[in-house]
């Protein structure tokens, strides 16, 4: 969605017209689902967290400064929602194995079925290992690896200095590597 269109939609929503919120929800739904899924670990909790986050975003739009970018603000609210749900509802991070609800992109056909099978297995290991890292490490991995956000955006979402992002990512990746090794798996 173009920034001008997004700003105009937000302006209309701030004026109290909820009809203009629908395009925003639809535009942010796939990215929001990726982040929520990564943080919550299963589609049911991810959908609940995403829905609550969208409601909170709308309720707080009056306080949103239009001079600021919407995307990091949205992810900040979503991340807080996921954390709250994990904490207060004791909805433990329940990882579901890769099934029809976690889709894998089609591998490069030139690389053959064996390569595809190996990558599928590696992704499953990685997904399961994500369950065992700390919340702090998981959230930064989700924002960087699943959503591909820039360091500046991640810093705004997590409320940390930009310089800390690289360091936290390093520790998160190391933690993931350690979990993979503890599982006794050979990765990659």
């Amino acid at each position: 969605m173009q920034p001008e269109v997004e700003q105009e939609l937000i302006r209309k929503c701030k004026a109290g017209d909820a009809r203009f919120y629908e395009p925003l929800v639809r535009a942010y739904e796939p990215a929001g689902m990726r982040v929520a899924m990564g943080m919550m670990g299963n589609p049911d909790d991810a959908r609940d967290a995403l829905q609550e986050a969208f409601v909170k975003v709308y309720e707080n739009l009056a306080r949103f400064d239009l001079a600021r970018p919407f995307r990091p603000w949205f992810f900040q609210i979503l991340r807080n929602q996921c954390r709250d749900m994990l904490r207060s509802r004791a909805a433990r991070f329940r990882v579901e194995t890769l099934d029809e609800r976690v889709e894998l992109r089609v591998a490069d056909p030139e690389k053959g079925p064996e390569r595809h099978r190996q990558r599928h297995a590696a992704r499953e290991l990685l997904w399961m290992a994500l369950e065992r890292v700390s919340d702090e490490h998981r959230e930064i991995l989700v924002l960087k690896e699943l959503e591909g956000l820039r360091y500046g955006e991640i810093a705004r979402i997590l409320g940390i200095p930009e310089g800390t992002v690289a360091s936290r990512l390093y520790h998160a990746r190391r933690a993931l590597k350690t979990v993979l090794e503890e599982q006794g798996t050979h990765y990659p």
Partner: protein, 139 residues
């Protein structure tokens, strides 16, 4: 000699370095087997993460759920205000209209009886919910 930190390696991996900084990291990686192995591992992780994609089961489902949540408070407010107005008006008409005492008593008993039954069912449901040991168990 360029003294590379783990943070530099992360910035390199994530494309957050200037061209000059990139070149310096590349030289450092080329001359260290350990660094190049570490970088290969993180690259593989990155590639595999990017191979995962999630999609909601039904497109537009989120919006319909969000929309329901956004419009529900308005619905409740209208229902409460409307019910209160009707109750006050009905009470006023009931008490000021001349009629047979038996009719008034019977009507009053029906209304009070219905309200008591409704309150009792709501209270039972609330108690059952409080006592449910599985209420925090998710689907």
């Amino acid at each position: 000699m360029f003294d590379m930190t783990p943070e530099d390696l992360m910035r390199y991996l994530d494309g957050e370095l200037s061209p000059e900084e990139r070149r310096r990291v590349e030289v450092a990686v080329e001359t260290s087997t350990e660094l190049s192995r570490e970088l290969a591992l993180y690259r593989a992780m990155k590639e595999d993460f990017q191979g995962l994609s999630f999609s909601p089961t039904r497109p537009g489902d989120t919006w319909s759920r969000v929309n329901r949540r956004l419009t529900r408070p308005v619905g409740w407010a209208l229902l409460i205000v409307g019910t209160a107005v009707w109750a006050l008006y009905g009470g006023y008409v009931y008490t000021t209209t001349p009629g047979v005492l038996v009719e008034k008593l019977a009507t009053g008993a029906v209304v009070i009886g219905v309200l008591l039954l409704l309150a009792s069912v709501i209270w039972e449901q609330y108690q059952a919910w409080l006592a449910d040991p599985y209420r925090d168990v998710h689907r």
